[in-house]
């Protein structure tokens, strides 16, 4: 029964990992750049919710929604005002720009909130569990998992069944041609960055509900997000889900068998994927 327990917990942790990867995957798929500030977007979003809940005394649901909306606005604005200026055939300037942003956001968070551990209190939900005979699973991890899956489905639906989604896919296919379709590429990039920042913020908020965070937690989340999208297949939305679940499973199994291993086996999984299947679990072989 330990096996079932480990698998369930691994999958549920994987749902959170996948959510960290989702926003990064969206950015990479559409803009072909790596957003180094993705981890800081996640942690910054969580701190926004913490600020609203703890310092302003807002109810939790309002704090979360407010933080998500604000994260969208910040991501949208940063892309429109800063990152779009350096977008071009060379991905390096955009990479450096987001690297700079990640440092600025991190220092801003330290300045505002100090370096203490902080978390979002979700009350008795944190310890509630469901007994399934021989195994029991936590209610909150289950909610987290369901939310993650639902967001993947929602993003997929948005991309394939709405006009905005169609425009985003077209931009991903051929960013130079969308202008001739009457669309400003810069605006689409900004919307995508906003959505990605909100998704990152939600992952960060859930992390802060599940445990605790500091302003320095971003780098580790960025690493997880990167591992998720590389394992799953770069730019593939569903690949990120697969990558997240695989990474979660490996982490939980490894920690059970070798409690002192930390994230080692997750990194080894990444290495194995890069060696054996560099296009990722769901990726297609390079076409062009």
């Amino acid at each position: 029964m330990i096996v079932v327990d480990v698998i369930l917990n691994g999958l549920m942790l994987g749902g959170l990992y996948a959510l960290f990867g989702l926003g990064l995957s969206l950015i990479f798929g559409v803009m072909k750049i790596a957003n180094i500030a993705h981890g800081e977007f996640a942690i910054g979003g969580a701190f926004l919710a913490i600020a609203a809940a703890i310092f302003l005394g807002a109810p939790l649901w309002l704090a979360v929604i407010g933080a998500l909306i604000l994260s969208f606005v910040i991501g949208f604005g940063l892309q429109l005002v800063l990152v779009n200026r350096v977008m071009g055939d060379d991905p390096v300037p955009a990479l450096l720009m987001t690297f700079g942003l990640s440092i600025i956001i991190q220092n801003l968070l330290v300045e505002l909130f100090g370096a203490d551990n902080r978390s979002l209190d979700i009350g008795p939900l944190a310890t509630a569990g469901i007994d399934l005979g021989p195994v029991s699973i936590g209610v909150f991890p289950l909610i987290l998992f369901v939310v993650a899956i639902a967001l993947f489905a929602a993003l997929h639906w948005m991309l394939h069944h709405t006009k905005a989604g169609r425009n985003i896919r077209a931009t991903s296919d051929d960013p130079d041609m969308v202008g001739m379709m009457g669309m400003e590429r810069a605006h689409i990039f900004a919307i995508v960055m906003g959505v990605s920042a909100a998704l990152a913020a939600l992952a960060g908020i859930m992390l802060a509900m599940r445990g605790s965070i500091t302003p320095f937690s971003g780098a580790e989340r960025l690493l997880i997000a990167f591992e998720v999208i590389v394992i799953g297949g770069l730019g593939s939305i569903w690949g990120s889900l697969l990558g997240g679940l695989a990474l979660g499973l490996v982490h939980v199994i490894a920690l059970r068998l070798d409690p002192s291993s930390g994230p080692l086996y997750g990194h080894l999984l990444l290495l194995a994927i890069l060696l054996l299947r560099p296009e990722g679990l769901a990726g297609r072989k390079a076409q062009r």
């Binding site: 169609r166 077209a170 296919d173 051929d174 202008g179 009457g182 669309m183 400003e184 590429r185």
Partner: protein, 234 residues
């Protein structure tokens, strides 16, 4: 309709077109003739705002200098690009519909485009990348028409197509030419085909206009010489 005056087009340090001037009236088709690298595509890109340009480009009197490609598309400039440039992950219908994003209204809708190219209606739900070259060319033209443009720029529409398919595409264009009031610029390497499908022609050599005139009764030999740059020094 479209007026180009003293237009130079460049990519970075490389200047591809020098001091071009011409006009295209509503309902008129201008053929741009020239060898590979003569600057035909660059000239179209300069009109679209896809490369940097100096000089005046006006559409119905409105100066388009400094406007983004999106703004020009909204004003009524549409391009069927070289290489067709399908949005690969979109279906045929989505590729057509996205052309209507300029928000311009007019006679061109999904149903009128599929009337012009019936095969596109049949394959509406297929991914555009799975179509043949000729069918993709029809999508590219249809996508440009969906914008209900004032100026339609057609870049190498017959390139890489089997002669019979190219013929089919050119026939659809001929129908367009008689029925619509769109000002059209047609880029074409095949001189005979270009002259047959146009009212006036303009021959480019190494970025400069070396010959222009009416297509009707044009001297194909003279165009041929201009095309290859023979005898222009004399």
């Amino acid at each position: 309709m479209l007026k180009v005056d003293g237009l130079s087009a460049s990519y970075g340090d490389y200047t591809a077109v020098f001091d071009a001037r011409f006009e295209v009236a509503a309902g008129e088709t201008l053929a741009l003739i020239g060898a590979n690298g003569a600057g035909k595509t660059s000239l179209l890109h300069a009109i679209c705002g896809l490369c940097s340009a100096q000089g005046r480009i006006t559409l119905d009197g409105a100066d388009m200098h400094g406007l983004t490609a999106a703004k020009r598309a909204q004003l009524g400039v549409a391009l069927s690009p070289e290489g067709r440039r399908m949005f690969a992950s979109l279906s045929v219908q989505e590729n057509l519909e996205i052309g209507a994003n300029t928000g311009r209204t007019g006679p061109w809708t999904l149903s009128s485009v599929t009337k012009l190219f019936p095969i596109l209606g049949e394959f509406a739900d297929r991914p555009a990348r799975l179509l043949s070259g000729g069918q993709q060319q029809m999508v590219a033209i249809g996508r440009a028409l969906m914008a209900n443009p004032k100026v339609l720029l057609l870049d190498e529409v017959s390139l890489g197509l089997a002669p019979v398919v190219a013929q089919e595409v050119m026939q659809a264009l001929a129908k367009l030419r008689t029925e619509s009031g769109i000002a059209t610029i047609l880029v074409e390497q095949d001189i005979r085909r270009a002259i047959a499908a146009s009212d006036r022609f303009l021959c480019l050599l190494e970025g400069r206009v070396v010959l222009q005139g009416a297509s009707k009764g044009a001297d194909l030999d003279a165009i041929g010489r201009a095309y290859f740059g023979e005898g222009t020094a004399a």
